[in-house]
């Protein structure tokens, strides 16, 4: 369980004015981008309290995304697991199939209000790329998505979806050719086209104000879940569980509950082949603090400060860093971070599909696998909410390949 926490902390007041969560976060970028970030921050501070902007955002979430997403009691799975009652926050039912769209809707509205005509984004699994291409199509903006060459191959379906949506997908051939390199390349594009381009970052990382604004847009998940849980069970949940790559779905669920002391929180990182093997993507579990992609946070790095290669069966968690707010929540003990390896996640993927008829994304399957262990340690009168952050359609090829089945 979480360590004792200083009661004086008001979580809603973070980050500070310069974007720090304790020692983490901040704005570590080259000078050329500083003014663009100042401009973005000023626009966001103005618009986040603007009634018309909020009404526009809320209306898009309701009518385009299909919110609120249900909070579903997985009765059969809870019974078979034996222990706490498990509720699923169904972000998989959102338009485009994951929580990512909550954020891209918000940032695209910001882009529109700031008069930007061109959108760029990075993507790993392709979910954020698809969500960015989707909002760009709807607003008539051009969209360029940077994607590691490795990921272009393993997520061919999402690459084609982005193309159908009118986006240009740019394979990134530098470094490890995965998500971190896609983010480097998106930053390079932004620095070159900073006047007319809006960079939609897909997670709660990057330079300030991104970790804050992405969190705020994703917090709709936790606000809904809190109200739905109170309505359905008459009280707050005992624990929250969400997978953590960069950490946007987790912070979206956690943030509205941070001031509720009784609610425990578990972020589940990708253990890959096992944290002890070194081949994983679990910086909070096994990494050290450093600076990457504009913020200070926990990283997978070697003794010389070079970022090391990560591994996860799920492309969306295959990232060597993590959002700075998670780094801070870990250090102060407000949330606990654990890891689940590839095999455990795959087992959970199959189990939820068979027992509840819900096929989860491999990312979300990490949360399911940990929640199952947690549920068993708790009494039947306790409740757990899992963020079912995305649906598993995109992962069918990966799972079939593991099963030795060739899909045509």
């Amino acid at each position: 369980m979480a360590k004792a926490v200083d009661k004086a902390i008001d979580y809603a007041s973070f980050p500070d004015k310069r974007g720090h969560f304790g020692p983490y976060g901040g704005r570590f970028v080259s000078e050329t981008l500083m003014c663009a970030l100042d401009e973005l921050e000023a626009a966001y501070q103005r618009l986040k309290n603007d009634k018309d902007f909020q009404a526009e955002f809320d209306q898009d979430l309701a009518q385009y995304v299909g919110r609120p997403s249900p909070l579903y009691l997985a009765e059969r799975w809870s019974r078979e697991t034996g222990g706490a009652q498990i509720y699923l926050k169904r972000e998989d039912l959102n338009h485009t199939g994951a929580h990512k769209v909550n954020n891209t809707i918000g940032q695209a509205l910001l882009a529109k209000h700031m008069g930007k005509k061109r959108i760029i984004a990075e993507t790993g699994a392709g979910q954020h790329g698809v969500a960015s291409a989707t909002v760009a199509a709807r607003l008539g903006m051009s969209c360029h998505v940077f994607m590691g060459e490795e990921d272009v191959h393993r997520q061919a379906l999402n690459v084609y979806r982005m193309k159908l949506l009118g986006a240009e997908v740019i394979p990134v051939k530098s470094g490890s050719r995965t998500l971190k390199d896609a983010m480097n390349e998106a930053m390079r594009d932004w620095v070159t086209n900073v006047d007319d381009t809006f960079y939609i970052i897909g997670t709660v990382a990057g330079p300030h104000p991104y970790p804050q604004l992405v969190r705020d847009f994703q917090s709709i998940i936790g606000r809904e879940a809190r109200a739905q849980c109170l309505e359905q069970t008459g009280r707050l949940p005992d624990a929250l569980v969400a997978c953590v790559g960069g950490g946007s779905n987790a912070i979206g669920l956690f943030h509205p509950f941070l001031n509720d002391e009784s609610v425990a929180m578990y972020g589940v990182e990708a253990g890959g082949y096992g944290v002890e093997t070194g081949q994983h993507a679990a910086p909070l579990s096994a990494g050290t603090p450093g600076v990457l992609h504009g913020n200070r946070t926990y990283l997978m790095q070697d003794d010389n400060g070079q970022i090391i290669h990560t591994h996860s069966v799920s492309a969306g968690l295959d990232y060597p860093g993590v959002g700075p707010e998670h780094a801070w929540l870990k250090d102060i003990g407000r949330a606990e971070y654990v890891s689940v390896n590839d095999d455990e996640a795959l087992t959970a993927f199959r189990e939820l599909t068979l027992v509840e008829g819900i096929m989860p994304a491999l990312e979300s399957s990490h949360a399911l696998a940990y929640a199952k262990k947690l549920a068993r340690s708790l009494d039947k009168d306790k409740t757990i909410i899992i963020n079912l952050s995305g649906r598993g359609d995109k992962d069918i090829h990966t799972v079939a390949q593991i099963d030795g089945i060739q899909l045509t």
């Binding site: 050329t32 003794d303 970022i307």
Partner: protein, 269 residues
């Protein structure tokens, strides 16, 4: 007086422009970086910028990205680079050396440990690309304790307010980024550089060098008329890479610097 200040004072007195080549330490390997540094000085370099390789060099164009990757194949580390500078100083006590890189390797070593070791090795200045003044205070303090200059970037997007702030913190010289883009980009606009230089010079008497997109004697001389010196990076790194690829001596790559030196000296007179 710091080696950088002494160098710029001497250059100003002689009405000469500073020529600042940039190479990546460990490219093509550490053994050849040391003779390359001495050769660059011989060909007319005033200050050396040594790139510290990083796995995620966000501000670099393809040429310098590849140089970082080549160096990292040999596991070149910040510690190794400090040893390299120590070696360099055994034969050259006059030419200032500036380390240019990214925050994380320095964070990993620890600011004070880094500053202490860099000072002892004979490093004169440090330019951390992804550390703007807003985040630089702890590093500034460590560098100041060991009498190293913290060199900051200014860009075409920098406001006058930020120029004033950076001018107050910077030491040694200011590195003016000529364009919106990454290193090695081809879109340098001399008129824009001149306008930026005027804005910078309104706030500081520190020497200002201009870099990004300076490829040859022609671009160097066009830019040099409005500033104190030019940085030549990608073009030199490319010359080193092609020499290595073609199996010729990488020291030959420094003829680019000799040519630029001659051209700069011609306009100074």
């Amino acid at each position: 007086m710091s080696r950088l200040t002494a160098k710029f004072d001497a250059l100003r007195a002689a009405k000469r422009k500073a020529l600042v080549p940039y190479i990546v330490a460990g490219d093509p390997d550490m053994e050849r970086t040391l003779p390359l540094m001495h050769k660059l000085v011989e060909q007319g370099a005033d200050i050396l910028e040594l790139g510290v390789p990083f796995s995620d060099p966000m501000a670099e164009g393809p040429t310098i990205q590849l140089a970082h990757e080549r160096a990292l194949v040999h596991a070149v580390s910040l510690s190794g680079i400090l040893e390299l500078v120590t070696e360099f100083r055994r034969h050259d006590q006059d030419t200032p050396v500036v380390l240019m890189g990214y925050a994380n390797p320095v964070e990993r070593m620890g600011y004070d440990g880094f500053a202490e070791r860099a000072g002892r090795a004979g490093v004169d200045g440090v330019l951390i690309v992804d550390m703007p003044p807003e985040e630089a205070e702890p590093l500034n303090e460590a560098l100041a304790r060991h009498e190293l200059d913290n060199i900051f970037l200014l860009a075409p997007t920098t406001t006058d307010e930020r120029i004033a702030k950076v001018a107050g913190l910077a030491g040694g010289y200011i590195y003016c980024v000529s364009l919106k883009g990454v290193t090695g980009a081809g879109n340098i606009d001399v008129d824009q550089v001149q306008k930026l230089m005027q804005r910078i010079q309104a706030h500081t008497d520190l020497p200002v060098t201009v870099g990004f997109g300076i490829k040859n004697a022609e671009t160097a001389t066009r830019v040099a008329v409005c500033c104190d010196g030019v940085v030549v990076g990608s073009a030199l790194v490319e010359a080193v890479a092609s020499a290595e690829k073609n199996g010729t001596d990488v020291l030959e790559a420094t003829t680019l610097i000799r040519d630029i030196r001659h051209a700069l000296d011609a306009i100074s007179r």
